[in-house]
Amino acid sequence: MRRLTRTSITTLAAMVLLTDVSGATDFDYAKLEKGRALVDAGDCVACHTQDKAKPFAGGRAIPTPFGTIYSANITPDRDTGIGAWTADDFYRAMHEGVGPHGERLYPAFPYPYFTRMSRDDVEAVHAYLMSLDPVSNTPPPNELIWPLNIRTFMAGWNMLFFNKGTYQPDPNKSAEWNRGAYLVEGPGHCGACHTPKNIFGADKASKALQGGVIQDWTAPNLTAQTSEGLGGWSEADIAEYLKTGRNRLSGATGLMAEVVVNSTSKMSDADLKAIAVYLKDVGPSSAPSVSAPAQNFMQAGEAVYRDSCAACHQGNGTGVPHMFPPLQGNAMVQQADPTTVLRIILEGAKTAATAQRPTTSAMPAYGWKLDDQQIAAVATYVRNSWGNKAGPVASDMVSRMRGAINARKAAPQTVGTGARVDAQQSH
């Protein structure tokens, strides 16, 4: 810990504050280690890092349907980070979504999840963050549309959608289940991506973990539903996926690849098992009703499949274990929303590389090789072959996705369209 060698007044002040609140000092290795593990579980580094050389210094653009939000600097820098925050300030931000000056934070910072965390855990997170090197970095101002650019507007949002309160264990479930539930609903904030949102960007509580779409990726259904969800995954499959980024059924790509590399691969085996136990117990969403695709469309798709896909995914869709995911029975392939399927066909994808699975396996882009009609046909084919069942894909869906990809490539910073306001805080 570099903190041991630091003697600045500000540091001493921060130490005094910590000591006041928790009765422990920040030399408490166990507490720092607990905080580190929670920071990993929460994947804080993903959103709060723009420049990899300056982790946690904030400034990463978070595109939302309401404009772009830039993540905060959560290093202990006094002027541009959270160095001047007290432990109480930090807990209020995590628990209530309110900053040290009473300003409302935006739920791109997932306080609706972090509110479930225990005070002890939040203090461990704070202690860990305060042990980092302070980095001076002021994130750019948010670019949000009116009226969301007025922070007080969030008070109304909170009244409607925010359910404050620490996680309450279910006495009828095992300790392991409760640990899993705590991680998923609290620090892990899985639902931030995997729960569908209403038009205000809030979770549709009745559809928790039934799958969402974020930044043109499908965050798949995590319920026990069979075709789209984790019904076909064992607890061991879930834990292996989170630990290594790969299992016999799937490989993490896109945003989930980041989550695996930054977060879940660093979590303890016990916590991953707990998450698996909890997820396997999330009641299945109702089976989607699906209309059968036209036969000639399927034939066209099969021709493309044999020519372009079968070499890796195999003629019968069974894939190559831990390298090329099977398409047969693949939940991502059968999501009601085909966003990820189309995106991966159009621009390719790479799987996460982890210590256990160091090989990055990849699918090349076919956007330059196949037209919208061909991609729609092959997507429909893989969604409806070998026992798979999912809605047909129309070529205008491919065309929209192609447009979104091209727009992102052309101007990565212009996803948000709102007015530039609020120079001080980014959440």
């Binding site: 890796c312 390719g348 210590a355 160091p358 090349p364 090789k369």
Partner: protein, 588 residues
């Protein structure tokens, strides 16, 4: 202005097979390692995606993956009385450049040398008498034997996931494998590839003639494989784009598909690409390397100090670096003195096409090491008495590819262009099998590498000059092997055959094989070798020189298996001996 960089423990010059393996082994030993690679970064999904990897024009004819002659080339002549001219376009051999080196674009034929290959001089003298070795033939025994290298062959084969069938397991001959091979401790990590029709016919014909056919040991995966480092390869799709191409399916062993994903995760390893090492620096005693000087793509020169310098580039570049750095004594063909550049050797190949009317071979279902081989005429597996040559080679029927520009065999007396050529190609494209020979080249007094007196590279340094021709030994041997190949082709009962024998002087223009060897040969003493049995320089003990340059002469097999084994052998010597007591591992 040369920038001096902070020192490291080890600098690796070049980042192909040998650099990647040493990087992995020496970082495992806790050393800080920097690899400096003259070419660019390359990985499977970015650079060899299956959507564009199978492109003959781009990769073979426009040489996308090979050494760029505009930056670095060599001059060539057949004999010392000629004036060498520069190669402005690669031909006979295709050294790589960029991360992975030639390990990217090889076929994947992964062999062990015969035990007798390691004792070429002693073994042949004992069996055939001293007169069997012509005075100008400069072969010598290896300073390391098959049994010593066996564990390291094993490590390389398991790293790569070689598909094959053992023929000699701990001394027990196994039916269906190569009965002539040295004893191996265990079978290949993967079963042989699925065999296609042409090689199957060849195998049957070989058996009929009393030979011992077996499936070629292949670095094209017969099934998915995760190697001991945890890196995973996928099953080969038999697309037929191996040699001269990168594999888009993670199915061919290369540094990228076996080592690099693990190595690049390490904090004590760093790779610098697009950086060409210009020389090895030494202290004032001349006996200690202090590091290397390299130039990046902007032309900025750097000095990288290091405790250990290891040359891991292709043999031509390793020899060149020693010569331009003034390390060791350059070989002088007139006096036979000196060692650097001595005993350059190559290989000699020929083939026989067999054209059928009643059989379809689907040549486009191929892989670089997909084939059936006989080893009955390799090394000293047969009696050479009265034949006038030593050494040999293997005969094989490969189904490597049906790439239409490169592979359009036609019968004898077909015109080389026009309507008759087209109709002959159309008629025979699916109906041709070929038997090829792959023969040894012994080292010879007038075959060597030195610096060219006239031509210079992009950095103003003299080019390497190659002086090489086949000798009577090779020509007689190749003629013998080609006759055997013709016998085998006839035994497959085709309509007609076409014999493509090796005739005349060696030509560096048509592609033959990228199996250049020698120039930094290993030996028992500094009089006839550049490096000792641990590939350590006799002159500069903290300098090691890897690769096929170590081969005292070139046996009748593809070199990569032995290059890999020698690399693990050296890594082990550095880890277990050199690091404890830096200095010469063998006293001169």
């Amino acid at each position: 202005m040369v920038k001096k960089l902070p020192p490291v423990d080890v600098v690796l010059v070049g980042f192909g097979w040998t650099g990647a393996i040493l990087g992995q082994e020496l970082t495992d030993a806790g050393l800080n390692v920097v690899a400096i690679e003259r070419g660019g970064w390359r990985d499977t999904p970015t650079d060899f995606a299956v959507t564009f990897a199978q492109d003959e024009l781009r990769y073979y004819y426009r040489q996308a993956l090979f050494q760029e002659p505009v930056r670095e080339t060599l001059t060539f002549r057949n004999s010392p009385d000629q004036t060498a001219l520069p190669m402005r376009r690669l031909g006979s051999f295709l050294p790589g450049t960029g991360v992975g080196g030639a390990g990217i674009h090889w076929n994947g034929q992964t062999w062990r040398f015969l035990p007798s290959d390691f004792a070429a001089l002693r073994h042949n003298t004992e069996r055939y008498g001293a007169q069997a070795i012509p005075e100008t033939m400069t072969i010598q025994d290896w300073p390391v034997g098959y049994d010593e290298l066996e564990p390291y062959y094993d490590r390389f084969e398991y790293l790569c996931g070689i598909s094959g069938k053992a023929g000699n397991l701990n001394g027990q001959i196994v039916e269906g494998g190569n009965p002539f091979e040295g004893a191996r401790r265990r079978d290949y990590p993967n079963p042989p590839m699925q065999m296609v029709y042409g090689p199957t016919l060849f195998g049957a014909a070989a058996k009929e003639l009393g030979y011992h056919p077996f499936p070629a040991p292949s670095a094209n995966m017969s099934r998915a494989y995760t190697n001991p480092l945890g890196v995973t390869l996928a099953p080969c799709t038999y697309c037929g784009f191996c040699e001269k191409y990168g594999c888009g399916n993670y199915s061919k062993s290369s540094p990228q598909t076996t080592v690099i994903p693990v190595l690049l995760r390490k904090d004590n390893f760093e790779l610098r690409t697009n950086s060409e090492v210009l020389r090895v620096n030494r202290d004032s005693s001349g006996k200690r390397a202090t590091g290397v000087t390299y130039v990046d793509i902007q032309g900025q020169e750097y000095e990288q100090p290091a405790e250990i310098v290891i040359l891991c580039a292709y043999i031509l570049h390793n020899v060149h670096l020693l010569l331009v750095s003034g390390i060791g004594t350059p070989y002088d063909a007139r006096s036979g003195e000196g060692t650097v550049g001595r005993n350059y050797a190559y290989q000699i190949v020929s083939g026989v096409n067999a054209f059928f009317d009643d059989k379809l071979f689907n040549p486009y279902i191929g892989a670089g090491a997909l084939g059936i081989v006989i080893d009955d005429f390799n090394g000293d597996n047969f009696d050479h008495a009265g034949k006038g040559f030593i050494g040999g080679g293997y005969l094989a029927c490969w189904n490597t590819n049906g790439r239409p520009i490169e592979n359009s065999p036609t019968p004898e007396n077909t015109p080389k262009w026009g309507a008759k050529w087209k109709s002959a190609v159309a008629k025979n494209y699916l109906r041709t099998a070929s038997v090829s020979t792959h023969g040894a080249v012994m080292s010879h007094r007038n075959n060597y590498l030195d610096l060219d007196p006239t031509y210079r590279n992009a950095y103003g340094q003299p080019l390497l000059r190659m002086t090489f021709d086949y000798t009577d030994n090779e020509m007689k041997m190749s003629e013998f092997l080609t006759e055997r190949a013709a016998d085998l082709a006839r035994a497959m009962k085709p309509r007609e055959i076409r014999i493509n024998a090796r005739k005349g002087h060696y030509s560096i223009v048509p592609y033959q094989t990228t199996h250049n060897t020698g120039g930094t040969v290993m030996g028992d003493n500094p009089r006839d070798s550049v490096i000792n049995r641990y590939l350590q320089s006799w002159d500069v003990p903290n300098l090691f020189v890897m690769g096929a340059g170590a081969f005292p002469q070139n046996p009748g097999y593809n070199p990569t298996g032995t290059v890999g084994a020698l690399t693990y052998w050296t890594a082990e010597a550095i880890r277990s001996q050199y690091l404890k007591n830096p200095g010469p591992l063998v006293q001169a």
